[in-house]
Subunit: 337 residues, 2 copies
């Protein structure tokens, strides 16, 4: 068989930033599905902060990618051949796969993509595969927002943050978003309906947070850790909640990173900090996705994708997550559906 498949393989665990040596793109054979499996062609690859965790060998929530093996990713593809009754040729599937043109799926790794008429397959995949359910369960199950409460979201123009903020608005909260450019501030405020937006790179953060949260913070939806967490801790109301969905400020760190200096406020203000990994909620995806698709089709949840074209652009794409260069949910379009 001719080598018509391209596969990104992990060559080095990144020390600090991801580099051009972290992954290599190899030409390989197209794999053959076995009983219970299907072969699918990759349409869209989602690029997510968790990719950097999988590349490392630090303690994490899934086994790290083995050196030399294909890079793991959140994928959407079209079934070409099926050896399982769960899928048939032509089905659009999404789930956990690899960064490669052709790959093997099973009912354990992928499922049929949920779709509705007025939401494109790429928007649905980008939102439902990972980031939408993450925002949904992390905010609702751990944050437990109540109408009238103040919710602060970090990486608020990011894939998870923008949806978490919009769900908090749907639940009747005052929502303040932190993001890294004036354009992103404008977008979350004017187009997504956030009550306030702070450019954390240019604002005086303590002042801006105090001004935007006159009644303190009830929920800080944490995607970053670090200084922003410390500043939010100071404003947390009694019995506040800090659902912790990511700690992106730490993923590239070379030295041990201290926890928040305002840690003692956890005690004084009886705060709850709780870590969230979407893997714990796989069985409840239908519940989240039903609500999210409905809100998307009603225009209550808007998504913005930053799409690069071609599997060969995936490595450059994933680096953008750590520079804030991306403008919306990062996606690679490998082959349009």
């Amino acid at each position: 068989m001719s080598k018509n498949n391209r596969v990104w393989r992990l060559q080095e665990r990144p020390v600090g930033n991801i580099t051009n040596n972290t992954l290599s793109l190899e030409k390989e054979n197209i794999p053959q599905p076995k009983d219970g499996e299907c072969l699918f062609q990759l349409n869209y690859l989602s690029l997510d902060p968790t990719n950097r965790i999988w590349m490392s060998d630090e303690t994490q929530y899934m086994p790290p990618v083995v050196l030399g093996e294909p890079m793991r990713g959140v994928v959407c593809g079209t079934v070409l051949e099926s050896m399982t009754p769960d899928f048939k040729k032509g089905d659009i599937v999404s789930g956990i796969g690899t960064w490669s043109d052709y790959q093997i799926g099973s009912p354990e790794s992928v499922g049929l993509l949920s779709q509705v008429d007025n939401v494109s397959a790429m928007d649905a995949f980008a939102t439902l595969a990972l980031v939408g359910p993450s925002a949904y369960f992390c905010l609702l199950d751990i944050g437990e927002p109540k109408a009238g409460e103040t919710v602060v979201v970090s990486t608020a123009a990011g894939a998870v943050g923008s949806i978490a903020g919009q769900i908090a608005k749907i639940k009747g909260c005052r929502v303040v978003g932190l993001t890294g450019s004036d354009e992103k501030c404008r977008w979350i405020k004017e187009e997504l309906g956030f009550d306030a937006a702070i450019n954390y790179k240019t604002a005086n953060l303590p002042d801006a947070l105090s001004k935007s949260c006159p009644n303190g913070i009830d929920i800080y939806f944490d995607n970053v850790g670090g200084t922003i967490l410390d500043e939010c801790l100071k404003l947390m109301n009694l019995h506040g909640r800090i659902p912790t969905c990511g700690l992106i400020s730490q993923y590239n760190a070379l030295e041990p990173v201290p926890g928040p200096y305002n840690y003692s406020l956890i005690l004084m203000h009886r705060l709850k900090i709780q870590g969230f990994i979407i893997l714990d909620y796989l069985e409840r995806f239908p519940e989240a996705n039903e609500s999210i698709l409905k809100w998307m089709s009603e225009g209550k949840i808007k998504v913005r994708l930053d799409v690069s074209e071609g599997l060969e652009t995936a490595l450059d794409g994933v680096k953008k997550l750590y520079t804030g260069e991306n403008n919306g949910k990062l996606m690679v379009r490998v082959k349009e559906i």
Copy 2:
């Protein structure tokens, strides 16, 4: 009226350690109760780590003691005069009061002490007024122990820790205690029934914890923060809980204290860290105290008091909390019942 009352007043907010200038003992008049109040004579004064918090003006869970005002304390006394139907002369009351021989109480600040035949009034007060309900609710409500889980308790020979550990044993857990002397290790293991005890001052902490917790840690009952918290974080199992009842390692700190360096494990292992202050549970005291008194009278909860004699010894007594010199729950006996 002659000045027969002695009152400890806050003169300086401690910077670092409590010193002899922090409080002064003044001779004053005996106060007069007004309508709805009672006058009581102090029998026992409980000395607790939280006293140091009240002396400071850092952000805390109650207003700090005002400079020049009587020092706040957890007290037990005998009613001498009552202007409220809630109490009558001779009643033994306990609650929040001041470090003074004679003082005013009200139904908002004190209540009748629960007692049973085979538990002394001082043991009952020492356990039920603050530390017993703290251990009970912090462990059970936030920690949610299940039989067979591993619970690690810091300051395990201390007032709250020793009770938390004994309740965890009653609930069927494996209980590992950290304390600061071999004698205290012996006491919690041999007399209180802990499964293992670690002298954190002499042991290699990572090794000792790993060895004592072969199945990891499900609940770390945190009374101290700091290094011990960081070491326990490394061993926390998925979905572990860290009820945070105190952060005594930080109370005397002069410099900003970093939070735990292993903070990212909160995310990776989906841990819950939640602060606990007993004030949130005042209405549920009867529930805790009924169980605790029963366990005490059955010999399932044992307490050890370190009693100093005379109100004048209170300042020297409270300093001991930070040196670990105390040997049991610190109490001042002002006048035996």
